[in-house]
């Protein structure tokens, strides 16, 4: 080699030196995956004996510089066995971590933190999101039916945009609300029932906190359990676009029970009116309102031919649609997700439509060398509902739709139920907008200490526009046209900050502590404008000032509440075997008086992972065996604010030629729709305090056969005291009711979940989940009988009060709250068949019309020879004995199938339509048909609440069936993943209940109406 330039040589030398210097620190790269070739992110990589470390990125890649070939690398990751590798000559390492079955993989979100599922001491259930029915849904609530043991979901309405009722471990409150709290990404947004702001497609996971150990951290709002929702974040290191489209076609599950034969209808009507002592209607003459009713003969011989099928005019086969498009991405520093959902929902009634647009933006970004994370989640949704429900599908078929060509045919001059007239002339539309936003910063102050601060804001508004025209509506007719606008908006701010400390001492003492505080401010306001007496109706409510200026009315309201809280949790684990958790929350709320403003909600739980013990390991049966038990106190403050303040009423009195505003003590807190009778309140109770629920829970988790069979069992006892209720006051006080803390309710039950991975082959597999829950509730006390004005059952001395709404046909309230009984049992007479002779009726203690043949034979329970109120007793229980669900999943190659059965057993239903419908009226008692099953027809009969109307409401339903086909290997088209599917809900129901559907509200009253819908959804999900 001829060297011309020594400088160059020197440089080269230095360069070589450098390289060798670098070489001395070998760089090792590699990929970490699990046994299924899933790449593992954030695995810790540490060169043993040094402080030199690294972590894998989201594709499992790592890179670490080691000093020499003898370096040993340690790979550790939660849920996996730690592995060590000698570097040697390798520069590329493929490390496979094996699952550590002793450490369950799952991490569950709990209040103010997360915990390894295996370390849970409380009763927390995760919802398996892939088991939820794939159908367009306004909110997640209704889809949760049967998904979690101990959670009862009732969706008794098919109305567009309707919510569902969720009860976790039964109802523990009478007036304070029974809906669980919902927390979305750490933001307690309110109570379940109508989570319309969150699109189901945007939800990544859901956890249900059931026992006090889990829910008491939410203190005064935790008594009904808590639902934790985590929304989807970006999680792949590439831009991923996913599209899902679902379209649902719905139909009634059964025929409508309406009059199809006008002759029979007329005969039945005439018979009923004659028996009742009234002039029959169908006699070929005008009724008192001047409406001509044809005679039965006219109907029979075809003189009168009109037979309108009103249900065909009023109902439609509704189609609903849900489209979701999401873009998600993740880089080393940033997770990003933007999702938008458009949902349309048709009601069964024509023009009863619901639409909603939902946008969800989620960004998480790491700063300061990944030692801090900032993020935001913003959800905006807006929608509207055109209310056109409740149209008269039951209208008399002998009358036509139109009178001549395009005049509506009205039955008399006070006909307010013409469905087409209402659809075309009446307007009622609701527009809503919701915003939920949160921003957080999460700072790793020290390796063992983290600070998280989150600011949340929620805003909701709703505007209802309506106009009731002059002729076709009662309100409009009475007021010569009436229209209005109802405005409502609410906002809520929650600021929370908490520190989390966690550290392991001597490898056996795992210790973590969390402490923080929370501030919540809520405000809502409303304004209602109403005008009457419109000259020109063409604008509807568009120009309310065109109404009569003397009759315009306005009303508005404003409420606000403030709450401060301090909270904390301690977790301690010894040798990964023995677990202990303690939580504490202190809440102070402006809803309560100075004397009882602050309340404290402690809880404690213990767990024992027995499968870690040698003596259990030796048995070689259990993969998991964990016992856990908890006790704690949570609260309920679900009452309106200002009950600690006196509240004056307002009215007007006509003086000096005009109405003048009047104000003073006593304001109207309720008005009976039927009688117009007002209830008066407004007397303050400065001693009002929180409802308190103490809950004991004991449970166990088992896993067998390499975790192919998992069983979870829980027993609980919830005891609620200081029930927030309105006690009655003596009339001489001038008030009817006052809010007090009085009464006790107990709920106890068991929950069992069996999860079985029955067959798991490469090509095919079967798995299933069975859930059983049984809850028994009991009203222990309704407070002091004297002070609460309870009724006394004449037969047993049982104390009770009526609860809920009156059934018009009976002029009575079916449900009672009775001491020693479950909530809402039915109360009334017993019936022993039908009276066949007047003598039999009189002998039974009945008199007058009620003793006639064909009447109900009420039972003289107290045997005093007279049927009166004292013969009433408990005649049914609307609470189920147990609820059960079975979810079966199967897969074969690219096909998947899931079947979901849901059932509720042992509950009674009060069937208000058990007699009086076209289907059962012809079965009536007559002189020729002396049946013992149905009474005679008699208009004006005073029906009494009786067990004759009680039916067994048990049912088993094929709630959901879904068949899908996986699309993959479509990489040429850019599609990385996809699935097409067909999904059916409410496919068939096994029940003895005679009404349309046994799924009724928690009070067990069946009101009739129309059948439930069966829904067929076709859908496709694609990821690009």
């Amino acid at each position: 080699m001829y060297i011309k330039n020594p400088k160059w040589l020197l440089s080269a030398f230095l360069f070589m030196l450098c390289i060798s210097a670098i070489n001395a620190q070998t760089t090792v790269r590699g990929v970490v995956s699990d046994e299924n070739n899933q790449l593992l992110p954030i695995v810790n990589v540490l060169e043993i004996g040094t402080n030199n470390g690294a972590t894998t990125d989201f594709d499992g890649n790592f890179e670490i510089k080691v000093t020499n070939k003898n370096a040993v690398l340690e790979f550790s990751f939660i849920g996996y066995k730690t592995q060590t590798v000698v570097v040697g000559d390798q520069e590329n390492l493929n490390v496979i971590l094996t699952e550590d079955v002793s450490q369950l993989e799952e991490v569950v979100i709990v209040g103010y933190g997360s915990v390894k599922k295996s370390d849970l001491t409380g009763s927390v259930s995760s919802v398996d999101m892939k088991n939820l029915p794939s159908k367009p849904a306004n909110s997640i609530d209704g889809l949760l039916q049967g998904q979690v043991a101990g959670v009862q979901v009732t969706s008794s309405s098919d109305d567009p945009g309707a919510g569902a009722t969720i009860r976790i471990r039964g109802g523990s409150s009478l007036n304070g609300g029974n809906d669980p709290l919902v927390v979305v990404d750490g933001f307690p947004i309110g109570y379940a029932g109508d989570l319309k702001q969150i699109s189901p497609q945007d939800i990544a996971s859901m956890e249900v906190l059931k026992d006090a150990s889990a829910s008491a951290i939410y203190g005064s709002r935790g008594a009904n359990g808590v639902i934790m929702i985590t929304t989807k974040k970006g999680s792949k290191h590439k831009t991923e676009i996913s599209v899902s489209q679902q379209t649902t076609f719905s139909e009634f599950t059964s025929e409508l029970n309406l009059w199809r034969d006008p002759v029979l209808m007329a005969q039945i009507s005439n018979e009923s009116r004659i028996n009742g002592g009234f002039t029959p209607l169908y006699i070929g003459a005008n009724d008192p309102n001047g409406v001509y009713y044809p005679s039965v003969t006219e109907l029979r011989n075809g003189t009168w031919t009109t037979n309108t099928k009103w249900d065909d005019i009023v109902f439609r086969a509704p189609i609903s649609n849900n489209t979701n498009v999401a873009i998600r991405n993740q880089t080393d520093k940033t997770q990003f997700s933007l999702s938008t959902t458009y949902f349309t929902n048709q009601g069964v009634y024509i023009e009863d439509d619901y639409k909603k647009l939902n946008i969800n933006l989620n960004v998480v970004h790491k700063i300061y060398n990944d030692k801090a994370t900032v993020g935001t989640n913003v959800i905006y949704s807006k929608g509207n509902k055109n209310n056109n429900g409740g149209l008269a599908y039951w209208r008399n078929p002998i009358f036509p739709v139109y009178n001549g060509t395009d005049d509506y045919y009205l039955i008399g001059n006070q006909d307010y139920s013409h469905p087409i007239a209402l659809t075309e002339k009446r307007s009622n539309q609701n527009n809503f907008k919701d915003f939920i936003g949160s921003a957080f910063i999460d700072v790793q102050l020290l390796p063992s200490l983290k600070l998280k601060t989150q600011l949340n804001h929620k805003f909701g508004s709703s505007i209802t526009d309506y106009y009731n025209p002059k002729i076709y509506t009662e309100d409009g007719n009475f007021n010569n046209g009436s229209g209005g606008i109802n405005n409502w908006e609410s906002s809520e701010t929650v600021a929370e900050s908490f520190l989390t400390f966690s550290k392991t001492y001597n490898d056996i003492h795992d210790f973590s502590a969390m402490g923080g505080f929370s501030y919540q401010y809520y405000q809502s306001r409303s304004s209602d404008l109403k005008a009457y007496d419109f000259l020109n109706e063409s604008l509807g409510n568009g120009n309310l000032s065109a109404g009569n200026p003397d009759q315009q009315s306005v009303a508005n309201s404003f409420t606000e509440t403030v709450m401060y809280s301090g909270l904390g949790r301690l977790n301690y684990t010894y040798k990964s075997k023995y677990l202990a958790t303690f939580t504490m929350r202190a809440d102070g709320s402006s809803k309560f008086g100075a004397n009882n403003r602050w309340a404290y909600f402690p809880s404690g739980a213990l767990g024992w992972k027995m499968h870690q013990e040698e003596f259990i390991k030796e048995l070689d049966i259990f993969n998991e065996l964990k016992l856990r038990s908890s006790y704690g106190i949570s609260g309920n403050q679900g009452i309106s604010p200002y009950l600690i303040n006196s509240r004056y009423g307002q009215d007007q009195y006509y003086v000096n030629g005009r109405f003048q505003t009047t104000i003073g003590p006593g304001y109207v807190i309720g008005q009976d729709a039927q009688s117009g009778k007002k209830s008066w309140g407004g007397i303050p109770n400065p001693d009002l305090k929180w409802e308190t629920t103490s809950q004991f829970n004991i449970g166990a988790d088992f896993a067998f056969f390499n975790r192919a069979l998992k069983v979870t069992f829980d027993y609980y006892n919830k005891y609620t005291t200081d029930l927030l209720r309105e006690r009655l006051l003596s009339p001489s006080s001038s008030y009817d009711r006052m809010w007090v803390n009085d009464g006790e309710i107990e709920n106890q039950g068991v929950e069992l979940t069996i999860d079985a991975n029955i067959i798991n082959k490469t090509d095919w597999g079967i798995s299933g989940t069975l859930m059983l829950s049984k809850n028994k509730n009991k009203v222990v006390s309704l407070g002091n009988a004297v002070s609460s004005g309870l009724n006394t059952d004449a037969l047993t001395g049982m104390k009770y009060e009526f609860s809920g709404s009156q059934v018009e046909a009976f002029r009575a309230v079916p449900n009672i709250l009775a001491v020693g009984q479950p909530i809402n049992v039915f109360y009334g007479y017993k019936v022993d068949g039908i009276i066949q002779s007047n003598a039999e009726g009189l002998a039974a203690g009945l008199t007058g019309d009620l003793a006639q043949p064909g009447e109900f034979k009420y039972v003289d329970l107290n045997e005093d020879g007279v049927i009166d109120q004292d013969d009433r007793t408990i005649i049914g229980n609307p609470n189920p004995d147990f609820i059960a669900s079975l979810n079966l999943q199967g897969r074969y190659k690219k096909f998947d199938i899931s079947l979901f059965f849901n059932g509720s057993f042992g509950q009674d239903i009060f069937n208000t339509k058990a007699f009086g419908e076209p289907s059962n009226q012809p079965l009536r008692w007559t002189q020729d048909n002396t049946t013992n099953n149905y009474p005679s027809l008699r208009d004006g009969r005073n029906l009494s609440m009786s067990d004759w109307f009680i039916e067994n409401g048990s049912f088993l339903r094929l709630q959901n069936l879904s068949v899908g086909y996986k699309l993959d290997n479509l990489s040429t088209s850019g599609i990385t993943n996809g699935r097409v599917f067909i999904n059916g809900t409410n496919l068939f129901t096994l029940t003895n209940f005679k009404g349309y559907d046994p799924e009724v509200g928690t009070d067990g009253i069946y009101w009739g109406g129309y059948p439930k819908l069966r829904n067929w959804t076709i859908g496709v999900e694609l990821t690009f």
């Binding site: 402080n51 470390g53 008192p288 700063i367 300061y368 060398n369 030692k371 910063i441 700072v443 102050l445 390796p447 600070l451 601060t453 009475f478 600021a495 900050s497 505080f517 501030y519 003397d550 009759q551 009315s553 508005n556 309201s557 404003f558 409420t559 709450m563 401060y564 709320s589 402006s590 200002y642 006196s646 509240r647 004056y648 009423g649 307002q650 009215d651 009195y653 006509y654 003086v655 000096n656 109405f659 003048q660 009047t662 104000i663 003073g664 006593g666 009778k677 007002k678 008066w680 303050p684 109770n685 006051l729 003596s730 009339p731 001489s732 006080s733 001038s734 008030y735 009817d736 004297v786």
Partner: protein, 512 residues
């Protein structure tokens, strides 16, 4: 540990102190608000009774209680149905039938509503009485409003004693739980002493100042005369519990005469209206007769603001509008009604055939717009002859301005006649008969005071029929059993007082 060191360095870089300071500050700012939240959307004791306008509105709220649907119409179930004046529509509820049949139990819902409404009105009056003094309002306003509130408190307590006998006396505003269990007064003396004291003070405070729908000095004098008359006649006729009154019967009559005398002689605002039609003209609530009339107007938006009294008294006539013939042969339009309060034949027949109160104020024939008769009582189109006292020709749908006549001048004339039972009284008595177009009573010859008083009470039935006074007359004269068939054979206690509602007994440990 190197890791820790690195982190610490990082922390220094990002200046963690600043961050923590920022967060603390942010939360500190939002946390500054207190847990005491003042109500902003409604009035309460914290923000009311600040000005004289507040006090005015509070006083009107007390008047407004008298218009409650649970009070104004319900009064007639007691005072007309439980007497020989009216019976009730057959398919009206059992609670209404009970008044006709004198089977009113403590569970009777109408009775309970009446009772409760009395105390709603009293509490509203007490709110004024308790909150006005000491607020520094001008003396004139304070005396006027206090006087009206005292009048209303007495008016309602008087209703309580007439209906229930011994019933709770509420002397102060109830706004705490421990004030909600009142006791019964010891005896009638305590009851009447309280009412009389309120009215005496009210008379002192009030001036003569007519405002339709409100009470003034004359109304307070008139009411006090009625209170004394009730006490006098009840004690005289041996109504249970009235023996406890310390004043003698004669003194009580004298007081009744004194206060009714002030009404007749010491003021020029109110007077005997010689035109009987005017009294019941719904456009003339400010007529000379109306010492105290409830104020309702058809332009109101809910019942209680407007009145449906017409619907109660007018029979159902096929749901149509009908026309009533006036004395000048013109016609007045009205809606038909619900046939709730149905005129008894005995009442109708108690009028002489020429009595204008029968010929002009009771309707037996209705017409159409063209003035053609469309039906009569005789042909059963109209199921009973009905009163014209509650007809509003300018009705709007069900909404009318028909008003309960709470205190009429004629009433006080008859109070005076009864109380004095002398020739002065006879003049007043004859003025009433004269207006009705029937014979006057020439003199008192041959009539004892008691005889004449009985005549006055009979005249009161005819003059004040359908006006909510009959039961009280029957009770204070202890003649319920004699006049009401359904009450014959009942005990003196049972006819003198309705039972205290069961709801009160159940909920109030101090009453049983």
């Amino acid at each position: 540990m190197k890791n820790t060191l690195t982190i610490r360095k990082e922390l220094k870089k990002m200046n963690i102190k600043k961050i923590i300071l920022g967060i603390t500050l942010a939360i500190g700012i939002v946390s500054c608000e207190s847990l005491d939240v003042e109500p902003k959307g409604f009035y309460s004791d914290q923000n009311f009774y600040k000005t004289v306008d507040d006090a005015e509105a509070a006083t009107l709220y007390a008047y407004d209680a008298l218009t409650l649907v649970s009070y104004a119409p319900v009064t007639f179930y007691l005072t007309e149905l439980a007497t020989d004046n009216c019976s009730v529509k057959p398919d009206e509820g059992a609670d209404a039938q009970a008044f006709v049949n004198w089977e009113v139990s403590s569970q009777n819902e109408l009775l309970t509503q009446f009772y409760r409404s009395i105390y709603i009105a009293i509490n509203r009056a007490n709110a004024v009485i308790e909150n006005i003094p000491g607020k520094g309002f001008n003396q004139e306003d304070e005396r006027r409003l206090m006087g009206e509130a005292l009048f209303l408190r007495a008016f309602n307590h008087f209703n309580a004693v007439k209906a229930f006998g011994l019933a709770p006396i509420q002397k102060s505003l109830i706004d705490e739980l421990n004030e909600t269990t009142a006791s019964l007064p010891n005896d009638m003396q305590e009851m009447y002493a309280f009412i009389i004291e309120d009215l005496t003070t009210a008379i002192d405070y009030l001036e003569i100042n007519r405002v339709t729908g409100r009470a003034d000095k004359v109304a307070a004098q008139a009411l006090l005369s009625k209170v004394y008359l009730f006490a006098a006649s009840a004690k005289e006729s041996g109504v249970p519990k009235y023996n406890a009154l310390t004043e003698s019967v004669d003194n009580l009559y004298a007081k009744a005469a004194e206060y009714s005398g002030y009404v007749l002689n010491n003021q020029g605002e109110y007077a005997h209206d010689t035109n009987i039609q005017n009294i019941y003209n719904s456009e003339m609530p400010n007529g000379p007769e109306h010492i105290f009339i409830l104020s309702l107007d058809r332009t109101g938006t809910q019942e209680g603001d407007y009145s449906k009294l017409s619907k109660y008294f007018i029979p159902y006539i096929s749901g149509a509008n009908v026309y009533l013939k006036n004395t000048d042969d013109s016609f007045s339009k009205t809606h038909d009604g619900w046939s709730v309060f149905q005129t008894n034949d005995d009442l109708y027949n108690s009028y002489e055939p020429t009595d204008k109160r029968r010929t002009e104020l009771i309707v037996s024939e209705v017409f159409n717009e063209a003035g053609t008769s469309i039906g009569t009582v005789a042909d059963e189109t109209i199921i009973y002859p009905f009163t014209r006292k509650y007809v509003d020709p300018n009705f709007e749908g069900d909404k009318t301005s028909t008003r309960p006549y709470l205190i009429r001048y004629s009433d006080i004339q008859l109070v005076y006649a009864e109380a004095t039972a002398n020739t002065d009284g006879l003049i007043q008595y004859n003025q009433i008969r004269n207006r009705a177009g029937i014979d006057e009573l020439a003199d008192l010859g041959g009539l004892s005071k008691a005889d004449f008083r009985d005549l006055v009470v009979q005249e009161r039935q005819r003059e004040l029929a359908f006006e909510g006074d009959r039961l009280w007359d029957l009770r204070r004269k202890n003649i319920v059993q004699a006049n009401v068939t359904e009450a014959a054979g009942l005990s003196p206690e049972a006819v003198a007082f309705f039972p205290i509602p069961q709801r009160e007994i159940d909920l109030n440990p101090n009453i049983n």
